[in-house]
Symmetry: D3
Subunit: 194 residues, 6 copies
Amino acid sequence: MPRVLASFFVNGKVCKDPKLVTADDFFRSGLNKPGNTSNQLGSIVTAVNVNNLPGLNTLGISLARIDFARRGLNPPHTHPRGTEVLVLLKGRLYVGFVLSNPGPNRKNKLFTKILNPGDVFVFPEGLVHFQLNVGKSNAIAFAGLSSQNAGVITIANAVFGSDPPINDNVLAKAFQVDKKVIDDLQQQFWWDNN
Amino acid sequence: MPRVLASFFVNGKVCKDPKLVTADDFFRSGLNKPGNTSNQLGSIVTAVNVNNLPGLNTLGISLARIDFARRGLNPPHTHPRGTEVLVLLKGRLYVGFVLSNPGPNRKNKLFTKILNPGDVFVFPEGLVHFQLNVGKSNAIAFAGLSSQNAGVITIANAVFGSDPPINDNVLAKAFQVDKKVIDDLQQQFWWDNN
Amino acid sequence: MPRVLASFFVNGKVCKDPKLVTADDFFRSGLNKPGNTSNQLGSIVTAVNVNNLPGLNTLGISLARIDFARRGLNPPHTHPRGTEVLVLLKGRLYVGFVLSNPGPNRKNKLFTKILNPGDVFVFPEGLVHFQLNVGKSNAIAFAGLSSQNAGVITIANAVFGSDPPINDNVLAKAFQVDKKVIDDLQQQFWWDNN
Amino acid sequence: MPRVLASFFVNGKVCKDPKLVTADDFFRSGLNKPGNTSNQLGSIVTAVNVNNLPGLNTLGISLARIDFARRGLNPPHTHPRGTEVLVLLKGRLYVGFVLSNPGPNRKNKLFTKILNPGDVFVFPEGLVHFQLNVGKSNAIAFAGLSSQNAGVITIANAVFGSDPPINDNVLAKAFQVDKKVIDDLQQQFWWDNN
Amino acid sequence: MPRVLASFFVNGKVCKDPKLVTADDFFRSGLNKPGNTSNQLGSIVTAVNVNNLPGLNTLGISLARIDFARRGLNPPHTHPRGTEVLVLLKGRLYVGFVLSNPGPNRKNKLFTKILNPGDVFVFPEGLVHFQLNVGKSNAIAFAGLSSQNAGVITIANAVFGSDPPINDNVLAKAFQVDKKVIDDLQQQFWWDNN
Amino acid sequence: MPRVLASFFVNGKVCKDPKLVTADDFFRSGLNKPGNTSNQLGSIVTAVNVNNLPGLNTLGISLARIDFARRGLNPPHTHPRGTEVLVLLKGRLYVGFVLSNPGPNRKNKLFTKILNPGDVFVFPEGLVHFQLNVGKSNAIAFAGLSSQNAGVITIANAVFGSDPPINDNVLAKAFQVDKKVIDDLQQQFWWDNN
């Protein structure tokens, strides 16, 4: 495991003594199996990162398979520690990301694209992005991430589904709705597709 | 400007030839002036970063002053490229951040604290965080950020106020509300307090 | 393009002014098309990196599709600036990498594995590695690399096919063969499958 | 604690297992209290860094409050692992930093500025810098540093007050004074205002 | 040991508690002694890196002395984690390195130079390079490497002398020779001059 | 020039278009020539870094030769952007470095060693260090530095020989001497041995 931009207890992993390393430390199976998309979002992410493939520790890269049912959505989320490059294998996706705040009286710019099989799209580190299946079948994508432990923050889950809940005064003011709406949202079940 | 983790056109700035540098390239005034908090959020961020203090380029740090009116809110946001360390100078703040997704059937953990003058709190890179004035006066805080151009993504603005708007099918499914609610939210004016 | 571990003329690319960026700067099509494996190695790499997808500049990640004919070989090579994580989509590959020199009187350790569809394998930065199709059909793999411009050094090409050729005294001594053998090897045509 | 440019025993701290982390790991109080400036320099630095706020580990940022009595001085020093950005809250400071050696027969360039409340000044990583209170009252500044453990080297203390002392032949020659002067300086008490 | 780009079990070393550090942790003797070049390559590398000088851990630099008998060769090799800068003290060397693959139908460019005493040459990170003594005496060089643990991969050893051997179908196809030639090469003794 | 921790106008250099690069961009002669030590310090540093060897740009390493007359001194200095590893070729040196401030009422720890030919010593990034010739002949050392442009700050020159001079109130208070002493020191000629 050369060149270290180390994550220690950060990712709950410690590097193995190199003398004890075997080929199996660099191997993991299972990305051929479709994830179960029978959930409220119609999508599921199967990640191969340092948490289940120890040989990735310190190497600054990981992979994921993303399955989408028809109309399935990978909802707005960020990767706090990584850029994502996605390639679509099957189906048709509407994808996009939103830039950082541009300053007073300007709106956050949205970039979108319709992807067909073989298309590649980049979601830069830390930006809010999403993918929606707009095709007539299920969809399958693979993604590379520029960290062995990029992290995922699903916006709705982090904002409305945290434990404990964020004070509803904060959210009512931030989202310009009544506290009643916030309270209802906080009662919802927020599925984590990762 | 030693040691470079360079941001080039990334931040729209190019390093100056060091022979032409003067003390003014490392100087900026104005952080003594209270920002104008007469807005819907009751808060305003005055940032000193590479965009207005060129000598910070490549140096990996910047500062901000944050002013809060009574009940003012710095709404849930992320810094895609930096950790924030805040010190409260005046007032009383309820602050918090939410961790990354913990995996299926677990909720994103929320950490909160009430801050009094002189208290310091850390908001790690890329995580969703907020500050609410819960005191009886205005509040003033200073913050250091671990990038010359950390960026800000106000969650509500990026999600509901982007230009062009995100397709409402995406947002209705992601936030588990009717498209009507999304459409209303997208009609709102989303003030950017940065 | 946030957070910069910049490659400037290093990769012949300059970051675009962010105000002029569009969705197309983050997009590239074509990875659905099988590469042409009708060559002496029976393999071909189709890379998506900063050279053909400018939006990857400074983001520290790239992708590649690798096609193998029956018995096709991606010959021993290194990536001088990146770790590779490969996922096999179709076929059956014998893959391996060799560790750095272990010191006097010890041999360089080889790690190998037979991959089936859905299997993932890691090739750490800078190490010599290869993939051989040992299945009964063609094979298709995707790979993520931890650099926007990881580079490829095909060992045989660099050693025996350089321009101008390396002095044959160097190679005869290094590979413990007659200069006649080296001269013959240097006359060969060395196909670059990248 | 995401993204690691780790300091392990380097700073005597080990990252905590993230499952055991609480809000208090990201919190510290006390920066509202004026430091005691009744010392020979008339200044005192109160630092909040990884040594007293563990949650900063690996996050690349820290803060400090600097108090100055009338005519108080934060004497020439360097931060070996960090850039400092200072904002003046109260008082009036004469500040400056000196560039690296420019080569034979040229002098090290000095950049200075008089700061008033709200003024911000940058002291780039590793350069010798100082702040002198030139106002009619005490002065208070806050500073951000681009490391969780930037370090401080007070020039006079390191050169004349080390334990054991540097051989006086070295210092007499380096500073072009008699060894008697060096010996006297080495007898002095060198107050560390950090 | 400031500023950490840490190698942990990667290099089998753990940083020492700074309170226990002594001058001896930053010291190593022996680079005045000529290495023994009575071997098949006529060269030997004596390295001072984190494996035998613990104080280098995390500091990103190491040194080596390289001795060459007459006609001695430091054979084609790479450093997977470091750039090398060599200065020749005695003798006359023919040195060179080969660039990465340039793409289809183009050859890997070779850069060479004859070095005389006092000459300095750079071998960029990860590229295949070599040094051959072409003078009438022995030769001595010193090298700096941009890592505390740059690693060495001697091409012939890694390719033909690994343990276990690489499948000869891979090597026969890669090097365009009969398997008989590969088998003979794999029977050879591959001296590691590091 | 792979892997970029770029210094742009920071070091006054711009990376060359890789298509135009030649072997000469990676070459420099002259380190066999003794530097002229007929100066007040009796020492001279001959550096090979990005300022005179452009191919080092972004590669994170440089070299220097240091010559000492009898009793010659390389006076207390820091490298703001690099660790130094020195190997002594000839002579006998008393070397040392001083740690960062340890906190109130504790002294900065000094580590020293007498070096003989072949001895290697590490001077960690940013720390004050020196080398004094204590042998009976001249002395010659080579050093590697962990930056293509590590910088040098000679303490006496930066503090007493800057242009313009630092206000003598600052220095009198910092060094606990009369302003008259400071004024005399500021009149001196401060030789830069780099």
